[in-house]
Amino acid sequence: MNNLFVYLEIEDGVVADVSLELLTKGRTLANTLGCHMEAIAAGSGLDKVGEQVLPYGVDVLHVFEDKRLFPYTSTPHTAIVVNLFKEEKPQIALMGATSLGRDLGPRVSSALGSGLTADCTSLEIGDHEDKRAKKNYTNLLYQIRPAFGGNIVATIVNPECRPQMATVREGVMKKEIADPNYPGKVVTHNVNDYVQETDFAIEVINRQMEKSEINIKDASIIIAGGYGVGSKENFQLLHNLADVLGGEVGASRAATDAGFTEDDRQIGQTGITVRPKLYIACGISGQIQHIAGMEESSIIISINTDENAPINAIADYVITGSIEEVLPKMITYYKKNTK
C-alpha cells in the first residue's frame, strides 16, 4: 500500500526507454520515501517484461496479459490502472509523457479525481506548507515543469489527492539499472476482474509503427536548426554537415512547428534533453525552452545572423553569419584538415 507505481509502455514485448527511465527515477524516489516501487504491464506477449524491468528495482510487477490489450486503447487500460489503484492506493504514479501516457494519464486522473502534472522535467520529494489552511505536508512529490512557453519553471504539488501523478518525456531522466539481481516479484492478474467487455470501445484497424532511426539522445555531435534556418530545404545543409562529422540533426520547437523537420528531432523542455560534446546551433535564437534542453552540452557553437541572439550568451563560439555561408565552409575546412 501507498507505494510508487510506474505504468510501462510495451511494444512487441519490449519495454520503452521512457518507462525504464521512469523506473530509474522511481527507484530513487521510493528509496527517499522508504516505500516500494511497483510497475504495471498490460498488453500481450509480456513474458519477458519481468527480466527487463526487475533489475531497475521493481519490487512488484503487476501483469495483465490479454490479446485485446495490445495495441493500446484508452478505456481498457484506464480501467486496469484505475481499478488496480483503487486496490493498491499508491502515493505516486508515473507515466511517460508520450502519446500513450498523455492519453492514459489524464483519463486515470479524472477517474480518481487526482492531480496530474504533464511533462515534468524534474521530480523531487519535499515538504509543503499551506499557509492559508495552516496545514503542513511532508514527503510530497514536487512535480517540476516548465510553463508559459518555457519562460518559467513551476513546482506543482498535490497536497490532498492520491496518487500524485506525473508524466515525464523520453530522454529527460537517466536510465540506470539498480541491481541485476534485484529480488522483485511478478503478480499476474485476471484481466476480466478489471476490465469489462464494453471498455473495448475503440478498435485499431491499421497500425504502422517504425523504429525511429533518429537518435539524438545519444549523439555526441548535434547540428541543430531553428526557425532561422528558414526552410525544409535549408535543413539539408545541416544534414550535410552532420553526415560529414558523424552527428545527428536536432531542431528547436519553432523549427519543428514550422514543419522544417521531424518532431522526433525537437530539443528542449518540450522535446528531448541532450548532452553532446559538440552542439552547433544554427539560426536558433535561444528561447529558454530550447536552452534548457541543451545547455549541458560541452561545447556550444552558435551560428546566427543576429549577433545579439540570446543563445550566444551560453555559446563558447559565436559565428555571426548565415548558415548558407558558414555550414558549407565548415564541411570544406573539416575535409581539408582531416586529409
Binding site: I299, I301, A315, M330
Partner: protein, 294 residues
C-alpha cells in the same frame, strides 16, 4: 437502425496568450512574464480541430458545428473567429468561480456545460493548448462524460453506421482506429490547417456578441440583436450548468503551484568569429586538434 447522417459537432476552443513568440520584451526587468506583451489568440491546435469539424459538416450536410470556450469575457473573440471560419454558433462558459482552474477543474466545468448542451454526437478539440502544453483536458472531459476518446488525431476519415474512423499520428507511426459515437477526438497540429475567414461569414457575424456585451453595446445596434437571433452568443455560468462550485476553479484543483521560478542562464565568455574563410578554418582546426570532431 436508421443511419442518421448529420451530426452535431462541438469544438472545444481556448483563447491563449501567444507563447510561441516570446521575445525579449515579453519578460519584464524583474524576470516576470509581461502578459500584456503577448497577443491573445485562438489556440493553434483548436483551429486544426475546427477544420476537421468543418470538413465533416461539408461531408455530411445538415451537420452543425458549435464552439464551446471557457474563459473571461474577452474569450468570446474565439467564438467570433470560429463563426468567421464557418462554425454555426458558440457558447461562452464564463464565471469568476472558474478562475485558477487546473486541468481537472477545467474539464469538470466543460463536461457540465456539455451535459447542459446535451445534444452532441462528437466533441473535437485541439490536442493541447500552447499556454500549458498538458494535453489533459480532452481525455478528462471524455472520462467525465463517460465516453471514449481518440487523441492525437491527424484526420477524421469518415463516419459510417454511427462509427467514426480516425487516423492518429503517434511519435513513431500512424494508427487508424474506429470508435462508436459519441466520443471525444483531439487533433494534432500536424492535421490540416484551418481554412481562413470567409468574407461572407465575417459580414454575417461581425456583431455577434454575448448578452452581457449587448448591454454595453451602442443604442443603434440594439434592433440588430432583436432582429437577428444568430448574433446572440450564449453565455453560461456556474449556475447555468449546475456545477458544484467546490469542484470549480482553484478549490476544485488538486494540483497547487508551490513555487514559480524564472529561468536565468549563466552567460559564458565566448569567442566571436565572423564567417570568413580564415575564421571558419581556424575553428575547424581547433575542434579537430582537441578531438571534439574527427
Amino acid at each position: 437502425m436508421i443511419d442518421n447522417m448529420n451530426f452535431k459537432i462541438i469544438v472545444l476552443a481556448k483563447q491563449v496568450p501567444d507563447t510561441r513568440n516570446v521575445g525579449k520584451n515579453a519578460m519584464k526587468a524583474d524576470g516576470t512574464v509581461n502578459r500584456s506583451a503577448l497577443p491573445a489568440i485562438f489556440n493553434p491546435e483548436d483551429l486544426n480541430a475546427l477544420e476537421q469539424a468543418l470538413r465533416l459538416k461539408e461531408a455530411y450536410p445538415g451537420s452543425t458545428v458549435t464552439l464551446l470556450t471557457m474563459g473571461p469575457g474577452r474569450a468570446v473573440e474565439v467564438l467570433r473567429e470560429g463563426l468567421f471560419r464557418g462554425a454555426d454558433n458558440g457558447y461562452l462558459l464564463s464565471d469568476r468561480a472558474f478562475a485558477g482552474a487546473d486541468t481537472l477543474a477545467t474539464s469538470y466545468a466543460l463536461s457540465m456545460a456539455l451535459r447542459k448542451i446535451k445534444d452532441f454526437d462528437l466533441i473535437i478539440g485541439g490536442r493541447q493548448a500552447i499556454d500549458g502544453d498538458t494535453a489533459q483536458v480532452g481525455p478528462q472531459v471524455a472520462e467525465k462524460l463517460g465516453i471514449s476518446q481518440i487523441t492525437y488525431a491527424e484526420s477524421i476519415d469518415k463516419i459510417e453506421n454511427g462509427k467514426i474512423t480516425v487516423r492518429r499520428r503517434l511519435e513513431r507511426g500512424i494508427e487508424t482506429v474506429v470508435g462508436k459515437l459519441p466520443l471525444v477526438v483531439t487533433v494534432n497540429g500536424t492535421a490540416a490547417a484551418c481554412r481562413p475567414r470567409n468574407a461572407k461569414f465575417v459580414q454575417k457575424y461581425k456583431y455577434a456578441i454575448t448578452p452581457s456585451e449587448q448591454e454595453k453595446a451602442a443604442e443603434e445596434l440594439q434592433p440588430l440583436y432583436k432582429n437577428r437571433p444568430y448574433l446572440t452568443l450564449t453565455e453560461l455560468n456556474v449556475k447555468d450548468v449546475d456545477a458544484d462550485i467546490n469542484a470549480c476553479g482553484l478549490s476544485g484543483s488538486p494540483t497547487k503551484v508551490k513555487a514559480v521560478q524564472n529561468i536565468i542562464f549563466q552567460a559564458k565568455e565566448n569567442l566571436k568569429l565572423d564567417a570568413s574563410n580564415d575564421a571558419i578554418e581556424g575553428l575547424m582546426k581547433e575542434l579537430i586538434a582537441n578531438h571534439t570532431i574527427g
